[in-house]
């Protein structure tokens, strides 16, 4: 497993600066995107319930 050896060598000193930057940027990007989306979902009022005509109501539920 050559790659394992490579990484093991690079990680002997723990997290390198490059590793920390990549990790923080990745985590920050994902958090920013998820946070932005969730905030917008909660900010926007829910779509009002659709008015159903009797023929429309067929849930196929029992």
């Amino acid at each position: 497993m050559p790659h394992a050896a490579v990484i093991a060598a690079t990680s002997q000193g723990g997290l390198t600066l490059a590793g920390a930057v990549v990790m923080i940027v990745s985590v920050a990007c994902v958090l920013a995107l998820a946070g932005f989306c969730i905030r917008r979902v909660f900010a926007k009022p829910q779509t009002p319930e659709r008015m159903h005509a009797p023929l429309d109501i067929d849930t196929h539920d029992t």
Partner: protein, 635 residues
Amino acid sequence: MSDQVSAPSLAPQKENWTGKLGVVLAVAGSAVGLGNFLRFPGQAVNNGGGAFMIPYIISFLLLGIPICWCEWTLGRMGGRYGQSSAPGIYQALWRHPLARYVGAFGLMIPIVIFMYYLFLEAVCLTYAVEFARGTFSDLFAQATAGVSQHGQQVSAVTDAAGQHLSDTCGLDNDGSVFSGGMVIWCVLICFAANFYIIYRGVTRGIEWFCTYAMPLLIGCALIVLVRALTLPNITDGLGFMWNPDWEKLKEPQVWLAASSQIFFSLSVGFGLILTYASYLRPNDDVVLSGLTASSLNEFCEVILAGLTIVPVAFIFLGAAAATTPSVFGLGFVTVPSIMHFMPAGRFFGTMWFGLLTLAAITSSLSMLQPAIAFLEDGFGLRRHGSTIILGVVSLAGAAPVLYFSRELHALDVTDFWVGNFMIFVAATAMVIIFGWVIGVDRGLAEAARGAELAIPRIFRYLIRYVTPAFLLAIFVMWCRTNAPERIHAMKPDAQADQAARAVYEQAAFDHFVREALTPEPTSQGDALPPREQLDPSVVASAERQVAAVLGENEGLPLADTLPEWLLAHQPKAEQAGADARHRAVIARGVFVCLIGLLLALFALSEWAYRHRIRHAIFAADRVEQLLADQEEGDQ
């Protein structure tokens, strides 16, 4: 931006999601599964660590998001015609005989994936129960009794975990899953839970379950994450996972792995989201919902999984265990082993496998709904009828996967052809239908209806040109890498010969190396050092002699041409040949069954089209025409 013109539904709506959060959580639940928690960390650490994130993010932007928006939009468009299954949706939007056959892929893929996913779900539940009952604590305590050195303890624990996995899943013998172990009961429990939730319907079943399960899952994962990040020396583990190996970016395999990971983990392109989105109202927001579901998936994958499993595995078990290439090995051998060394491991083990079970159930529910929708739309069945029929079919399909559990061969073959190959085909077809058949302008205009966010204009070009080209490129690369080997694996005679020859080759190699290392006649009992530790000249010489004895060609040497000392290995070679033949027969059998199922679904799609879907679409067209006439009259 938001188009304020309300689009009426053209057909009677069956069900609608009750709220935007519900559909977002349901779709996120569909995407968040074992692939996020187990596959992503393994892929990242074996493909450049932090450097893997470069192709990963590019794939997310060029592949994941465009396909996601295409599928959400197509699903909502199909829902306006009263269609919720891929054959009906494609037929409503593309009036071509091929449409329903392309749609059949969107029906088959989820059903078949469910057939083997159920087994994985049951293994997660089994492990959660076993952690809670202390089975693993006892097992590891027994394995490490009298062992004080850490390296030996790691070895003993991982061996015990491996053996336990083998016993649980019947990896050594076909049929042993049915011998009464806990896993078969967990299969039945998971099966019953899935079908009970599906039976309750989209809003009272799927939406209700995901509304509770997803926050619970994320909450449990956050607790595990906090525990992981507060462990001593965790920065070593994080370094192991995230320190970039930029050289890896030059390897095409890394790009293929990243794009495949994005593609499979978002669960896009093969009909799940089509069905879920068809239950949206005509003006519900697909852009924000699609992006939110994808971002939640990434949150679980990059943060909750990326910061826990591999870093913790590295600090407790070392590099070898943390880089195991097998998802199964990482999930069900490495993780339980970690828990032995981790403080409060029993509690965290229960929580981890509990959350995996929840993630698996939210995913498997989405695999059942397309078929339920097809039975309802295409055959007019009511919920209980469609649930019973699908239950029987999926149980009949899951039984062989469970029975042929040896080395998980049937599962692996099914996953290759359906969970990988067919998904590429279905997703490529979907993007082409959206971008070229329906037209990217019409498609994006439809996506913009009710949307709070505007889709950037660049996506017009991405969806039309870049995404299909990217998909086709990785599909071709993936096929070139995997398909020849898989096709060869379905040839029983060739496989048997190859396996038997491999035994002879190894035996002959060992014989000649022993001869080279010791002038005296060799002792068969002494273990040789690994090949890479041998003198290269000895290896080269032994390989030449092996070729001379067995012949240069790949075929099996004739028994009467073999030297007597090699004939002693004949029983072992015959056994290896028989095993390989058995595997090849299973691979071929699975492949034939899958082709048969696909043909059957083609036929069912055709029947459903002729008898119901066509009429429903025709009625929706009439409504559309009437509405258009009415609008014209009003003006």
